[in-house]
């Protein structure tokens, strides 16, 4: 990199959904926007979460001048602890985001050593060679900002996650004027949220949900249980407001929900009169028609409140006939089966369950195609880089920008780790630095890779079978009965006959085809695998321990 160029590298969020992270570099100094985690997909069993690859930045710890957070969702702040381990740098965040970041740092015992700065929309600050102008946007958590970043080669705008909501619950619409003003000043590059870029139309306002809630609360005879995201404070506000309208008290269920509600109330982002808020115990004792419960578990997580209610495993609460459960959330792809399972169980227990699209009880926090068009036309950037989405979203977003007249060669659809260099006039798509998945599994980071994942997948399909056999080291004869250990293959308690057959295969093989084999263990494994497939049409992982005595 020459000193004259601005370098932008998406290290997360481009080509995937989640673990957002963008690096801006100029003259050897770097600014990092967001360091999020993503949650594992179905083909990543056992993984706790995935963090960005910090390899590139670890090579240059001294150059990171700051981490700026756009908002407090896990896919934007979740890896802050891992990031601080990799490259210590001051943190910049709005008050609510800062509060959530501090919790994470505290749990990782990193808070004491960290430097945090509170930022505010409309107040610029300087990070290395960059003057950053945060501006208010709407999304699905309080205190979200987009960033105008003045760099020596031009103005860069990063939207963060955003939606255009003219009637948000907190009365604070996006700062259209500021967005237009940035556009007027001339924007070199726009980096914009692509999550919903494949969805036609415009994202409806949160106000739509108020109407839907009102209709449900008005007619519900028993309790109303609202399941949503703990960070969706506006939704909790809606539930509380409409509960008040219909003279219902509100109880909060779930550890994270309780924590977020406490923080949001303390900081003034959530207004629930103290006498309206009751405990779960109080709620359980009250006339059901006077109660609203706001709970976690809208993604079907079996250990969250709604999952425990569905399966009858909650200590303080039980779903009753006549309860109305509102699933006030989108169903994240990959979670549908679990969510549907929870809904079915709730029905089984006598609840009525309302979920989109039965009624519009959720709206997305991300802009759709018509919103994106408006943003691009307000900003009119020279270069356009769709971020925060799978490749299909980035390509759709690029297509929209092209429709609006941005030349195709001024649009960069890139995957994580792709280096983009800007000199003010041109954009160069350069080399690729490490930008893949880093798996966090238990106490360790990065030691579980594709090989382990493949083994886990194989084990989950057909399990394993191990045979231990003691043989005489001189005669090669089997000394005593082989021991078989197996899990995930067949139901062992009812597989006596099969196990007997397997032992016979062992005797036979050790006497016959594997008697003089150079690797008797490997030979036995091969014979066993074939025999087991012939008998069962299954392919468990087969191991042998030939113990020469």
């Amino acid at each position: 990199m020459t000193k004259k160029k601005l370098r932008i590298i998406p290290l997360g969020g481009c080509g995937e959904v989640g673990k957002n992270m963008t690096v801006l570099e100029y003259g050897g100094e770097a600014l990092v926007i967001d360091v999020g985690i993503m949650f594992p997909e179905g083909d990543m069993p056992g993984i706790d979460y995935i963090i960005p690859d910090f390899n590139y930045l670890e090579q240059k710890t001294e150059t990171v001048k700051g981490i700026v957070f756009t908002h407090g969702h896990e896919d934007h702040i979740g890896a802050v602890g891992h990031a601080m381990d990799a490259f210590d740098a001051p943190i910049y965040a709005t008050p609510f985001t800062r509060a959530l970041v501090e919790i994470k740092l505290k749990r990782a015992r990193l808070l004491d050593g960290a430097t945090l700065h509170t930022i505010e929309p409309g107040k610029s600050f300087t990070v290395g060679p960059f003057k950053v102008e945060p501006f208010h946007v709407c999304h699905s958590i309080p205190d979200c900002v987009g960033l105008g970043i003045n760099t020596p080669v031009g103005l860069v705008v990063h939207t963060g996650d955003y939606k255009f909501d003219h009637t948000p619950v907190d009365g604070n619409p996006p700062d259209f004027a500021k967005i237009a003003e940035l556009g007027k000043r001339g924007v070199l590059a726009l980096l914009s949220d692509s999550t919903n870029a494949d969805l036609p139309g415009a994202t409806p306002s949160e106000a739509v949900v108020t109407e839907a809630f009102d209709a449900i609360f008005r007619t519900a005879k028993g309790r109303v249980i609202v399941a949503t995201f703990a960070s969706l404070i506006a939704r909790i506000q809606q539930a509380a407001d409409i509960a008040q309208r219909y003279k219902r008290k509100i109880a909060i269920a779930g550890y994270t929900m309780t924590e977020y509600v406490r923080i949001a109330r303390d900081m003034g982002y959530l207004r629930i009169p103290p006498d309206q808020l009751i405990s779960l115990e109080q709620a359980d004792a009250m006339d059901p028609s006077k109660v609203v419960i706001v709970a976690t578990g809208a993604q079907g997580e079996s250990n969250a409140v709604l999952g425990r209610l569905a399966f009858g495993r909650h200590d303080d609460l039980e779903v009753k006939r006549g309860d109305t459960v509102i699933m006030s959330a989108n169903f994240i792809p990959g979670n549908e089966e679990k969510i549907h399972g929870v809904i079915n169980r709730l029905y089984q227990r006598g609840a009525n369950v309302i979920y989109p699209p039965i009624a519009p009880v959720h709206v997305s926090g991300h802009a759709k195609q018509e919103d994106h068009k408006l943003l691009i036309n307000l900003i009119r950037p020279k270069f356009f880089v769709p971020v925060s989405g799978e490749l299909r979203h980035l390509h759709q977003h690029a297509g929209l920008a092209a429709e609006l007249g941005i030349p195709r060669d001024h649009i960069a659809v890139v995957e994580n780790g792709t280096v983009l260099d800007f000199d003010g006039q041109s954009m160069t798509v350069g080399e690729r630095v490490p930008g893949g998945y880093v798996f966090v599994d238990g106490a360790t980071v990065g030691d579980v890779g594709p090989a382990v994942m493949r083994d886990r997948a194989a084990l989950s399909r057909d399990g394993f079978l191990i045979v231990m056999v003691n043989v005489d080291q001189n005669t090669g004869k089997v000394l005593d009965e082989p021991v078989v250990i197996s899990r995930g293959f067949v139901f062992m308690r009812e597989a006596d006959e099969l196990m007997e057959q397997i032992k016979q295969v062992v005797y036979q093989a050790m006497d016959d085809e594997c008697a003089y084999a150079y690797e008797r263990g490997a030979c036995l494994e091969s014979v066993l695998s074939k025999a087991i497939y012939q008998m069962t049409r299954r392919r468990p992982m087969v191991f042998s321990l030939v113990n020469q005595l």
Copy 2:
């Protein structure tokens, strides 16, 4: 059961999606409607498919007088082989359905012993005490019927899977007149498809897709690849018709697709002029703008054509820059991640991918709420039993029926195996017979249950670790170095240090806390599990083989 009552038992499809099966009994004689399979969900690793529980019918083989199929989808005919093993009975099916059933029976070597009757809409036939009147409905495979079943206690209507399409591709709309005529005669019980009963509005006609295809084919510069279900013959017809309109040839890719196209053309359900049909080799050699390829793989299956194209593993074809891929299918919940992965890879290879809702390139084959209301109002049944859906669908469907004035106690939302008895005046919800999941895994049926499934899930999260240690049977001392086998836990090639620590734990435990344990193996497993969790925060399945020598 007294001889005077009609007994209806849903043995599949109620409380789940898939493996549809309904039993009607009167006077000791039974009629079976459909015997389908369902595909495993995410929490059923290794399972090939799931069949209905035939236990109830196996107790009374001599009473099943016939199996009537409503249509040829896997979730309605897939278990025909297993059914014939359980209770041999004559089969009744429309021509296309019969052709597909025959393929299944042939593969299971059961065709020679089977009795098959071809049925036709409008032509009634008798099965035991039942006179069956099949009537034409639309769905997403040719030759679908609903059934009017005259029983000694009254008329029963089973819709099969259906949609109301006034402009279907084959020009053959549902037989509204027959449905209305059955209604006029007075229907005792209506059993109706609930798949989309939670979706507001009416299901659009297949004609919508024609428009969408036309717009895409008209503007596509390169090849058009249409991925859809092999059984969705109408969709293939649309692709062929519009290909012809734009002077493109059509090639068929995929084993099942090729087989279905052959059958459908032979039987006259699909009209493609011979000179329009080309081979994949010919397609590959032609000007891309003159080619349409219809392929399997719209559910993201890695081994179907589209999956192989996405991952560059197809022998005869390669996705090229400029190709347009149409995902002409709904994304079945649970498959989204795989489908999105395939779409992203196709984009990576330079294709443009069009999927719903980018354009309306698919419509559902199932009725939605407004359609269901029309059906119920045409039939006006005395009793209503929603079938073919998860509990949430059945409850939503029941809600619609109640809105239309059917008394709540005349509506039965039941799960598989629930016995419903009808005497012409009343409906009694009775005992529950076995109606759960029977897993088919490899060569065997039913030997994999919840315990094995739990083990597979645990193995997929953290793998396993086995330690074998030889000890002196007299002194109890460890004789030589323990052997460790592990998979799915850590990457073994880079875990030397951890394995060394684990061996030290073994030495220590056998010398110390497990030295005099009654069960030394169990003691060692317990010590090891704890130590491994402390070191790694993971919980592999731990086994020990203490070999007393």
